[in-house]
């Protein structure tokens, strides 16, 4: 299965730039195409397309969402077992394992290291075997367990 591009495409190239799988190609100002073998269905193209030219795997047209409103992972450390599956699942590498132990315990903890790179695909949430990750709308100064929000940088775009 793969996302597809309709003739609404104006060839702006926004999807090409965000696609983590390098699955989209096309000349500027011409209709782009998606290589179905490479598409990982992360949906990032659909969220950036100003033309709603992207159809998801069910054939439903995607709607553009302001990047500041994209869902971000929130990790509940009391449930997290530090297995690193979320970090591996992330197609853009925005999650990382801490180099120091968590506050209560000796294990490291995964955190959103590069919030700006997060494409809100939710793979981390879906693949977490113990359901320790929720995808939620970022709130400024919100208290989460991730280091990035602790030092107050938040996810402003």
């Amino acid at each position: 299965m793969s996302y597809t591009i309709t003739e609404k495409c104006n060839g702006c190239g926004a999807c090409v730039r965000i696609c983590p799988a390098e699955a989209i190609s096309g000349e500027k100002k011409k209709i782009h195409t998606i290589d179905a073998d490479l598409c990982i269905e992360c949906g990032a193209c659909g969220r950036v397309c100003p033309q709603s030219a992207l159809l998801d795997t069910e054939g439903v047209a995607c709607i553009m969402v302001k990047r500041s409103e994209w869902l971000k992972p929130e990790i509940t450390l009391s449930t997290c077992v530090a297995c690193g599956i979320c970090i591996d699942a992330c197609p853009v590498g925005c999650l990382a394992m801490s180099e120091r132990p968590r506050e209560k315990g000796v294990d490291p903890f995964p955190y959103l290291k590069d919030a700006k790179a997060c494409i809100g695909c939710g793979f981390c949430c879906r693949e977490c075997p113990v359901d320790a990750i929720a995808m939620s709308k970022p709130v400024k100064a919100q208290k989460t367990t991730s280091e990035i929000s602790k030092d107050g940088t938040g996810e402003s775009t």
Partner: protein
């Protein structure tokens, strides 16, 4: 239907730089899974009979686990496969870290290399594009430096497997490193990579790994997590008291089947180093090149490697991909290197007790030094111990060692010797290919002091204490291996709870029963091998599956991931098939299975006069015969019978 495998492999011919993607039929996965199974299938069919392990015809494969990336736990191990230059037969080495899922994210279940590159290169795979790149700049760097250089260039998400200087110099005891010090060390396959002039494999893909029934996978994983977390009072004990468990096991005459939850507790708190003192006390650790006993390394000495001391150096725990337990750790060290992966029990005993070295700082240092060099700590320590015995017995002199006083426990000399081995300098050149080859070059009866099985130095578990180790050291297609079976392992796997017809140990038994040779022993050894072959196909971690087959539901994960409805017995046949194929590989390449029996010293042919294993002799010949019978291999030669190969569909 969604399947957890990618269905494709990449074959790289380093001689001419061609790269071919091949589709693998579903039936191969149904018979062999992927990981070591797929590796064995490809190598058995494609390496010509009698090929030189260091020649262009040998094939080196990086194989991802079948269950890797499926949301199952303990399933992040990959297997390096090739014809071993150390043993001349089937070779594989198993490693954790993060490399296993990276292979699948590139769209392959395995990546194979044949031929020899005219100049140093590395493979870079990014989103479906594969390139061989010039490695002139990184050739000569150690494993950690190389990884750092490549990650700087390709980003932290790239997974990197590299050889260090030991592999480059074709040391037959070298391996392949990932994650700054996780190493696929055994079988000497680093030398194959080195001779092929392949410095590294860099993988950066995003392909998804899917399963037939994700909800069932998650349900099973939660069940597993419950047991991985299961609290045990053992964890409240200080490290020094864990040693006394070993003393108790040595002195007691009545035993009970060992439950893996106990070992899990040790692993979770201390890592494998939790065994340091326990194993010495028990008689599990070989000491002084397998001549010594626990009396040579009493509690007063072993207190220096008390697990608590090692834990104190730990900054943070290290979890391999998909591991909820985290037996690893990142430690602070003194001296040149700031950090090292927490030294494993094997490394500490091989470089410590086996050489009678008591200096903990040197163990941390040597651990990092060898990881960076990409040299097997077990074989390096065992070869050093052999050299020390040669020196002590006057077979080699100070002149031969370049001035080193190679005496038992001389830390300084041991460190200097290991450095020479890595650099292949002076006597180090002689020792860099392991103890068997060194003894052949030294002569003068030194072969008497080498402890090896088919050329491979066995791990730090004494088969005179648990005869199961001696069975597996001797009969496995990869001889000298401690990660495939033992009496203790059989008890922890608890396979009888799921697989029909397997013997169930009694709740209490006399210790003497451990040393009896009977059909039950043969059945349990064979079951261990079959199950571990399956596990190595699935990419499962042995420490995980020690927790028990019902608690870590390997069979059920396999069914949920694929939609197959195989019974546990049918899965055991897959393991049996993989094991038999590896044995058939050995036979095809001229290995006489009997020639792989472990050295007589470790069998106790001259029994020890004191200590935990006093008076013990393990009759490997008899045990092997029973084991071979279980597999339908000839009971006198160990070669798979025609009808066995036919039954398993091996051509």
């Amino acid at each position: 239907m969604n399947k957890p495998y990618m269905g494709k492999i990449l074959m790289v011919d380093l001689s001419n730089g061609t790269m071919t993607e091949e589709t693998i039929p579903d039936s191969v996965y149904e018979q062999y899974l992927s990981g070591m199974g797929l590796g064995a299938y490809i190598l058995y069919n494609r390496i010509p009979t009698g090929a030189d392990p260091l020649g262009p015809e040998n094939i080196l494969g990086f194989c991802s686990g079948f269950l890797t990336g499926t949301g199952s736990f303990f399933s992040g191990r990959w297997t390096l496969v090739g014809k071993s230059p150390l043993t001349g037969g089937w070779g594989d080495a198993n490693c954790g870290g993060t490399f296993s899922p990276a292979i699948k994210h590139c769209g392959y279940d395995a990546i194979f290399f044949k031929g020899i590159s005219p100049k140093p290169v590395y493979l870079y795979v990014k989103n479906g594009k594969t390139t061989l790149k010039d490695a002139a700049d990184i050739w000569g760097q150690d494993a950690v430096e190389t990884e750092e250089t490549l990650k700087k260039q390709y980003g932290p998400k790239a997974a990197v497997a590299v050889i260090g200087p030991a592999g480059e110099k074709v040391s037959l005891i070298s391996g392949v490193c990932t994650d700054k010090g996780r190493i696929a060390a055994r079988s000497g396959l680093g030398a194959v990579m080195g001779v092929k002039k392949l410095k590294a494999v860099v993988l950066d893909g995003v392909q998804r790994i899917v399963t037939h029934d994700p909800a069932a996978m998650k349900r099973l994983s939660k069940h597993c997590d419950k047991w991985a977390k299961f609290p045990m009072p053992l964890s409240l004990l200080p490290g020094s008291l864990i040693a006394l468990v070993g003393t108790f096991l040595r002195l007691t005459t009545v035993l009970f089947p060992f439950d893996g939850l106990l070992y899990k507790t040790i692993l979770k708190k201390w890592g494998t180093g939790g065994l340091n003192q326990l194993s010495i006390e028990w008689g599990d650790s070989p000491l002084k090149n397998w001549e010594g006993s626990n009396r040579d390394f009493p509690l007063k000495k072993s207190a220096k490697i008390n697990p608590d001391i090692i834990k104190n150096a730990e900054i943070v725990k290290y979890h391999c991909y998909s591991c909820p337990m985290g037996c690893g750790g990142i430690c602070a060290t003194k001296g040149k290197y700031a950090h090292t992966h927490k030294p494993e029990y094997e490394s500490m005993l091989a470089l410590g007790g086996l050489c009678m070295n008591e200096d903990l700082d040197s163990l941390f240092y040597l651990n990092e030094l060898l990881n960076r060099a990409g040299m097997d700590t077990i074989s390096a320590g065992a070869t050093a111990a052999f050299a020390i015995e040669c020196y002590e017995k006057g077979i080699i002199t100070k002149e031969d060692t370049g001035g080193l006083e190679l005496k038992w426990g001389n830390t300084e000399a041991i460190v200097a010797l290991i450095k020479k081995m890595i650099a292949r300098e002076g006597i180090g050149d002689l020792l860099a290919d392991g103890s068997k080859i060194a003894a052949a070059k030294i002569g003068k009866g030194s072969g008497e002091f080498t402890v090896h099985a088919g050329g491979q130095e066995p791990a730090m578990h004494d088969g005179r204490n648990d005869p199961g180790f001696n069975v597996h050291y001797s009969v496995e297609p990869t001889p000298g291996r401690h990660t495939l079976g033992a009496g203790l392992y059989y008890e922890m796997f608890q396979l009888w709870k799921r697989v029909k017809g397997l013997p169930r140990p009694s709740l209490l038994y006399m210790k003497g029963n451990k040393y009896k040779i009977n059909k039950e022993k043969a059945q349990s050894s064979a079951a261990c091998s079959k199950f571990m072959s399956l596990a190595n196909g699935a990419g499962m971690c042995m420490f995980g599956i020690f927790i028990g087959i019902k608690r870590v539901p390997t069979f059920d994960w396999l069914n949920a991931a694929t939609g197959w409805k195989f019974t546990p017995e049918e899965y055991m046949v897959i393991g049996e098939r993989i094991q038999t194929l590896k044995q058939a590989f050995n036979v095809r390449h001229g290995i006489e299975p009997k020639s792989n029996f472990i050295s007589s010293r470790a069998q106790g042919k001259v029994p020890q006069k004191e200590g935990a294993n006093k008076g013990r002799f393990v009759d490997v010949e008899k045990l092997a015969s029973g084991y071979w019978e279980q597999f339908g291999w000839d009971t006198t030669t160990g070669k798979p019978k025609e009808e066995t190969l036919k039954k398993l569909g091996i051509k």
